[in-house]
Amino acid sequence: MSHDKNFLSVVWDKLKSWEGFLLLVLILIIIGNTSLAPNYLSIGNQMNLFILSIEKIIVALIMAFIIINAEIDLSVSSMMGLSACTLAWLYSQGAPIPVALLAGLLIGVLGGAFNAFWIAKVGLPSLVVTLAMLIGFRGFARVLLEDKSIGDFPVWFDTLGQQPLVGPFPLALLLFFLFVIAAILLLEYSGFGRYVYVIGNSREVAEYSGVKVNRVKTILFIASGTVAALAGLLFAARLGAVRGDLALGFELDIITMVLLGGVSIFGGSGSIYGVLLSIMIVLNLRNGMSLANITGHVQTGVIGMLLILSVLVPNMTQTVRAYLDRRRLAEASSKNNEQLSVNN
């Protein structure tokens, strides 16, 4: 029936979706922010938003894959800390930066593979495994640096990410586009993405259809560890100094971005487009609250409310819809019964 709908009703359908709702919220936030600060929409400010949050954004993108696959990775921010601390420790021991960077990434691959082993091979719940590694990776990070702060990186490393690299675009922004395009292609258009959705919907159906479920999960967790490690290295470059508590607590913002984006915590549904919109919402909201001189703690509280709403609203609409469906069915069947009794 969808093919004979006119253009307007298609647009209306899209707007009724979760993504449409997010878009509306985003527009409202931007209008509000612009009234607070007239040059809010300037390209410089908007670019800054992404540059200052690139670490969370790229991790949120891979987290979307993991949650759609009906798993979760709580260890990402600890991995960010661990990779940054590995870099800083090796550098303080005299290793050149490129070697230290590679080592940081390698830690990410290994840490992800460690998670993958327990989750995919042994079959433990990812919530438990990655919660343990949230503590474990952070512990290693603190062991490496103790309570020191290591900085004095070479200038080129410190400015990595912020200096224009290609035209006016710094590395952070280029990475953002690269990751978004890769995530959209992978999740929405590739065979791998199809498997991610199917497994998230029903692991059993995937297995009964010959999908290599454990392989998909292994790839996802290794990717998550690696991307988190990369994010930690970027964060180290932007801060110019590394401590054991780098990126502490980031997993909350990251998971909020994903869930607010319409990804179901039970897996199987959600899209990168929704996650992108919710990333924009979180960034713009935080920026706007800063403009309005709202303190950081209140900001965190608002983000927390947002998370609850993001889970509550879709659930409520579903409940209402299910109730209406049931009533319709009941009416239809009572009509049927009447007809039957008439026929009899």
């Binding site: 065979g191 791998f192 199809r194 498997y195 059993e204 009964y208 010959g210 199987g268």
Partner: protein, 504 residues
């Protein structure tokens, strides 16, 4: 019987979507009788029990207790009316002791438990049942029969008047069965009405006073056990017309494609032997718990067998995973669409292409949507899937159309062996005929087919040969010419002397 009935089910009907599970059924239970209820799978026995215990509400009809109509909305209400049920798997709490389990449903004991009184009461109940058990022992260590005794004691503590036993002997040893029967006899002497459901006819004859037979949701007969013979009972259970079924076309049989030799899986099934030729339909018949599906799952690599071998195209192999089975050319159509068959929120197209997705990927690993869609359109026409579009959510289709999507999904894998597990369960008559037609067509194209079906007339009409299983054992393979409903049902019920005569 000159006694007054304790429970009467009058003209009960219950419908689920397409199936009339109970059709104007009546059943009367008297105090102090053991009343056996028998019937094939899907005869409506479970639905009737669930109606008695308040899990389902009948669409029409009345339940009378002591001649008074009652409405039972849940199992607590059933209990308060004195109706309780025990099942094949006892529902005891393993970490609580015997006495605690017996009194678990008592909510009127105040805030403080009087342990002494509880132990004494528990002992006196068990004594009434003539069961010797340490009431302080945790339920974990008890045998199945003892756990059932605890459940029966629990029912008695609630002043049970009607006790339903749903296949209580299915997982018991012969000795334990004898114990259970002793308890059942004690209950009868104390004036309890026992409704005894079993697939084992010898037990039914041994223990019951009267026997009722259900078939296709209808009440067929109720007789005093002494007046019933094995033959008359089986005739009542299976006496259905085969008229609605497709005439089987005779496909040409080729060489043997797949064989099982001594196939087994510890604790599930053992010593399964068969050959399936190209163009042949081998039916698998048996009752619930006969483990037919488990053999299918072993062939498809989901629950691999741990004994014997599978020979596929002359090569012995161990089937370890569904990927491997798919590569060999095996398709398995599951009996449970919802849980194992289809991803309901996804489109018809994505469901059909799932096992064969690799064929639709470009060099970069991206899905070629147009080719995928063309395939889905193809099956939509071939299988007459009624849907507005192939992008439609599978979950929104009717059962019959979902079944066809699943068929398309597995046909597209181009199998050599197609295992159908209950391919027509829960779909309407029209869709059923279409599925039968497709199975015939596939056999004509030279596919080897295994058809697992609880619908006996269907299995008989569609199969060239029928393998009958009972509790994980192969009872025999019958040729089409010799297989009648009576013979197959007799084998499935475990009357092995007859089976041996025929297979010789």
């Amino acid at each position: 019987m000159d006694k007054k009935p304790v429970l009467e089910m009058k003209n009960i009907s219950k419908r689920f979507d397409m199936t009339q599970a109970l059709d104007n059924v009546s059943l009367t239970l008297y105090p102090g009788e053991i009343h056996a209820l028998v019937g094939e799978n899907g005869a409506g026995k479970s639905t009737l029990i669930k109606t008695m215990t308040g899990i389902y509400r009948p669409d029409t009809g009345n339940i009378l207790l002591d001649g008074q109509p009652v409405h039972i909305h849940n199992s607590q209400q059933a209990q308060s009316h004195g109706v309780a049920a025990i099942y094949q798997e006892p529902l005891v709490f393993p970490d609580l002791n015997v006495a605690e389990n017996i009194f678990i449903s008592h909510r009127d004991r105040g805030a403080v438990v009087s342990w002494k009184k509880m132990y004494k009461d528990a002992e006196s109940i068990l004594e009434k049942l003539d069961v010797k058990l340490d009431v302080k022992m945790p339920a974990r260590g008890l045998t199945l029969a003892a756990q059932q005794a605890v459940e029966i004691a629990k029912a008695i503590s609630l002043d049970v008047r009607v006790l339903i036993m749903d296949e209580p002997t299915a997982s018991l040893s012969a000795h334990e069965v004898a114990q259970l029967f002793k308890v059942a006899n004690t209950l009868r002497e104390q004036g309890v009405a026992v409704l005894f459901i079993s697939h084992r006819l010898e037990e039914v004859f041994k223990i019951s006073d009267r026997i009722s037979v259900f078939r296709d949701g209808r009440h067929i007969s109720t007789n005093i056990t002494g007046d019933v013979t094995h033959d008359s009972l089986i005739r009542d259970m299976v006496g259905r017309e085969v008229g609605d079924y497709f005439a089987k076309s005779q496909a040409e049989k080729g060489e043997v494609l797949v064989s099982a030799r001594g196939l087994g899986k510890e604790g599930v099934f053992s010593d399964i032997n068969f050959d399936v030729r190209r163009g042949e339909v081998l039916g698998f018949a048996g009752l619930v718990g006969s483990r037919r599906t488990d053999v299918g799952l072993a062939l498809f690599g989901i629950e691999p067998a741990d004994a014997g071998e599978i020979i596929f195209e002359g090569e012995p192999l161990t089937m370890k995973s569904p990927e491997q089975a798919l590569k060999c050319g095996i398709s398995y159509l599951t009996e449970d669409r919802r849980q194992f068959g289809l991803t309901m929120p996804m489109s018809i197209t994505s469901n059909i292409s799932l096992p064969t997705l690799k064929r639709y990927l470009s060099g970069l690993g991206l899905v070629k949507h147009s080719r995928e869609k063309a395939t889905a359109e193809d099956y939509r026409k071939r299988l007459t899937i009624r849907t507005p579009s192939v992008n439609h959510e599978v979950g929104k289709l009717s059962g019959g159309n979902q079944q066809k999507v699943m068929l398309g999904k597995w046909l597209n894998a181009e199998p050599k062996l197609f295992i159908f597990d209950e391919p027509t369960r829960g779909i309407d008559v029209g869709a059923k005929a279409e599925v039968h037609h497709i199975i015939n067509e596939l056999a004509e194209q030279g596919l080897a087919i295994i058809l697992i079906s609880s619908d006996l007339p269907e299995a008989l009409a569609m199969s060239d040969r029928i393998l009958v299983m009972r509790e994980g054992k192969q009872m025999g393979i019958f040729n089409r010419e010799e297989a009648t409903q009576e013979i197959v049902m007799t084998a499935a019920m475990g009357q092995s002397h007859l089976t041996e005569e025929i297979s010789q």
